[in-house]
Structures are given as C-alpha cells and as structure tokens.
C-alpha cells in the first residue's frame, strides 16, 4: 500500500469518528434540552393553561388543552374580587417599587462613592456595617416597634423606607464595585476646577453611573415587587394590599378555584417576565457582579 492511501484512510476514520462524536453531542444536547424544558417550563405551561380554563376543568389540575377559553372571565373575576383589591394591590406595589428605587439610586450611589473613594480604617468599618446587612436577617418585632414609634407602621412611607433599608446593602455593593472602575483622575480634575464633594458627585460622577443605575433599578424592581415577607409584617391591613399579599390571601379564598388562582399568578408574573425579556443580560450581569473577582 502506498503511504498516501494509508493517510487518506486514517483521515476517513478520523472524520467518521468526528461525525459520530458530533452526532452523540447533538443527541446529548437534545436530551438535556428536553429534560430541562420539562423541569423548568412545564410549571409555567401549567400556570398559563389552567388560568384559561373553567373552574371545574381547572380543578382536575391537568395540563390538557382547555375545552373552553375562560381567560377573560377569569381575569375579570380576579380583578373584581373583594372590591377590586387586586387593582389596589397593583397600585400599592407599583408605588412602593418605584419610590423605593428612586431613593435607593440616589442614596446608595452617594454612599458607594464615598465608601469606595476613601480607604481609611473608619470608612472600611462603615462599609462593613453596611455590607453585613446582606447576611443579617431583619429583626421583625423590634422593627415594628421602631416603625410604630415613628408613626410609620402600616403606612406606605413606612414600607417604602423598610424596602430601602433592606436593599441598601446590595445596592451599595454594586455601586461601590462600579465606582472602582471610574478613574480618580476625573475627580482630581474636577477638584482643580473647584468642585466640592456634592458638586463633584452630582455633576460628574452620578451621570457616569448610568449602566450600574440600570442594573440596580432592574434587580431591585424585581426583588421589591416580589417581596412577600416585609409587606406581610410591616404593611398589614385590608387597605394595605400588595400584589404578593393579595395572592397569598387569594390562596385560602380560592381554595377550589385554581383557574382564578392561576389567573392571579399569571397577572403577577407578567411584570417580571417583561423585565426579563428586555433586560435578561443586565439582570444576569448584576447578579453575578463581584462574584467572580470576589
């Protein structure tokens, strides 16, 4: 045999091997995709399909196709339940989320700026106190006591300030990390031009923080919007509905009407889903920020 044929032979074998490997890779991928679709997507399919059904059909809790499309009736009924409680909840949750975020962005970017730029012992101590809030659980009843003393218990301003307080550590970590990438030369030239601390911050630094503002806004929006525990404790009462509290209350109210319950779940899941559609990458970037460098 000529050496050339041997080489081409072995090439064919190699190619066959590669093709086989490719095939198994595609097969493995298909299996994994199918598997994760079943695990992660069926629950959502289940929510959607059951929110379309009538009460009797939904009580079977199956994923079969609905025989009757009842989505409009279901949503109207959920929205009208308890004198339009859900609409009030939408209003409250929106006000809480937006107001807390405005405060957070302002207050935490200032703090992150100072904490990053100064590096003395005292500043590090302050930073530690702020950041330890990521781990420390909220002290429930004492917080109620403090809120009560300030006449803020069961009020919108009260729950807004609580949401700000518990989100401060996370937002400060993000801002501090981002501000570290802004060169100090920018500060120095502004100082030479006569800028003081506040002016430097508002005129120069704050506008440079746009990308991290976006991240903080989106992630806090999802977290505050979805929060159940803090409104449960600090914002109780019939008029003080938030979306998560309302959903929880509907759970006992609609024990047998899964169609209405899932219509409610659907309504509550739409806002985070929209954020996810538009800002998926930014959300992921924010949640992984700092985790790699440590």
């Amino acid at each position: 045999m000529k050496p050339q044929t041997i080489q081409s032979n072995s090439n064919v074998i190699l190619k066959k091997k590669k093709d086989k490997k490719k095939q198994t890779n595609i097969l493995v991928e298909a299996v994994v995709v199918l598997f994760s679709a079943v695990i992660f997507l069926i629950p959502f399919y289940f929510i959607i399909i059951n929110s379309f059904k009538t009460s009797e059909e939904a009580s079977r809790m199956s994923i079969s196709w609905p025989t009757e499309f009842h989505i409009i009736q279901n949503i109207t009924e959920v929205l009208n339940a308890r004198n339009g409680m859900l609409l009030l909840a939408y209003f409250n949750s929106t006000v809480i989320t937006i107001t807390s975020i405005v405060i957070l962005v302002l207050v935490c970017s200032m703090t992150g700026f100072v904490l990053q730029r100064r590096s003395d012992k005292k500043t590090n101590g302050i930073a530690f106190v702020f950041i330890s809030g990521l781990m420390v659980p909220t002290a429930i009843v004492p917080t109620i006591w403090v809120l009560d003393k300030l006449h803020l218990f069961k009020t919108l301003p009260g729950i807004i300030l609580i949401m700000v307080a518990i989100t401060i550590p996370f937002a400060i970590v993000l801002y501090r990390g981002f501000i570290a990438t802004i060169p100090r030369e920018i500060d120095e030239s502004a100082i030479i031009d006569g800028c003081g601390g506040w002016m430097l911050y508002f005129k120069i630094i704050f506008p440079l923080l746009k990308p991290i503002h976006a991240t903080v806004i989106i992630i806090s929006a999802v977290n505050i919007f979805n929060d159940f525990v803090h409104p449960l404790y600090f914002f109780p009462g019939a008029e003080n509905a938030t979306l998560q509290l309302t959903l929880y209350n509907f759970m006992s109210m609609y024990e047998t009407s899964w169609n209405l319950l899932f219509a409610n779940v659907l309504l509550i899941t739409i806002p985070p889903f929209i954020l996810f559609l538009f800002f998926n990458n930014r959300i992921v970037a924010g949640m992984t920020a700092g985790s790699v460098k440590g």
Binding site: V114, V136, G197, L247, L261, V292
Partner: protein, 287 residues
Amino acid sequence: MLKSKSVYTYTLLIPAAIIYGVLFILPTLLSFFFSFTRWNLREWEWIGFENFMMFFEEPSLMIGFQNTLIYAVLTMGLKVVLGLIFAVFLCSKLKTKSFLRATVFFPTLVSTIAVGITFSALMHPSQGLINQTLGLIGINGPDWLGNPSLALISVAFVDVWKGVGIATVIFIAGIMSIPKDYYEAAKIDGGNKFHEFWNITIPLSRPAINTVIILAFIGGLRTFDLVWAMTGGGPGFSSDLIASIIYKQYQAGFYGLSTAGNVILFMLVAAIAFPLYMFLNRKEVDL
C-alpha cells in the same frame, strides 16, 4: 491627598446611614434586648433567658432549629452541585445555549408565593402532575407535602428549582473568566474532560463557588415565604423553620419569644456564615 480626601465628605452617606441605621441597625440591636423580655410592644418585663430556654426545650420550637439547618445545607448542596453541572454544560458548544440559560434562570425572577402555589398544585397527592406522571410508569407517588417526614424536603426541592438559576449564572461567569490556555495545556498533557473539570474548572472558579455557597446558605437559613406558602410549617410542625416560628409567635402575640427566635437566627447566621465568609475569602487571596 489630604485635601482630596476631604472632598469625599461623609455628609454624602448621611441619608443612607439614617435610613439604614434607624430601620435596620437599631432594630437589630434592640432585638438583643427585647429577646430577654416579655413584651407587648408597650410594656416589657425582664425575664432573662426564659425565651431562649423555651426555644430549646419546647419540641415544637426546637424542630424549627433542626429543620433550618437541614434545609440550608440541603438547598445549598443541591444548588452548588446542580448549578455547577448546568454551568459546565452551558459553557460547552451548544446551539441552544441562550435558550437553556434563560430557561434555567427565569424562575429566580418569579414571585416565591406564585411558585409555592404552583408547586402545591403540582405536588397534589392524587391529582398533581408529578404523581400522575409517576403513575404512568407504575410508581405510586408519595404525598409530597402531607407526609411529615417528606414535606420539608419537598419544599427544599422547590427552592432548588427556583434558585438554581442564580447559582448557574454565577458559575458560568466564573468559568468564562478562566483563561482558555489552561484547557489547551491540559489537552496537550493528555488530560480528559474529567481532568479538565476537576483540576482546572473547579479550582479556578473557586471565587464563584464561594459566592454561591454563602448566598445559598444564608438564603436557606432565612427562608420563610416558600415554606409558608406551601405547607405553613405543617403537617404539625414538621416543616417549620426558625423564620416561620418567628412569624407564628409574632401572630400569637409572644413578641419576646418571636424576637428571641430572631436573635437565634442572627446567631446562627453569624456563627456559620461569617466564619465561612472569612474562611472562603482567605482562600481566595491565596489563589
């Protein structure tokens, strides 16, 4: 330098310090005091360690302590292992990469109560989709949430379902930051996929692994909403966590006892998470 330092004035952090100090730090400090009292929000009476003794003597309270540890360890372990598997898989050459990543990640953005309700339906003993599916292959599925020895674990699984996405994206970020040369070097030395995973991916994504361990562990210790939406701590007290006991005692008007639960949770986090954080971070510096 001195002059420029004074530009970064502490007045900039006053607003955050006031909100955080009054509504977070102050209550945390107060909790240490009020946990030693019998308290109705207006008057308090010093009763020493009575609340804490009660917490550790009363079986219905003590179980919450054990459950919290089991829950935190279980969810953390599963999130690390599964998250790592997903991440390695998602970092390989796939056509459906971004679809898969989005699929795994989206549940983290859904409200916990909504997830709890959905899985309560899916885990229904007779009609639920899970047991119906198991029935198709001849397995008689258990009563996931009604069986006292299973309820806590079922909730933990749902927690993993909801939270593994965060672990996955953090791991992906960690693995992506590893320079490709290492893998090429391993290939030249004749290493296989397992060698690459064990000797390169794992040690070099240590910071990411540390983050996930700490986040998942503390998250597990503090969990309340998922358990509350799915089992309410039941059946009996079998799936009670410290956080759900804090809520129950608060509802019952035992404010001192509830606050003692808070302090115990704080101590638990401090005793486990802070040293863990220090330990894991020290290792990072060595790398």
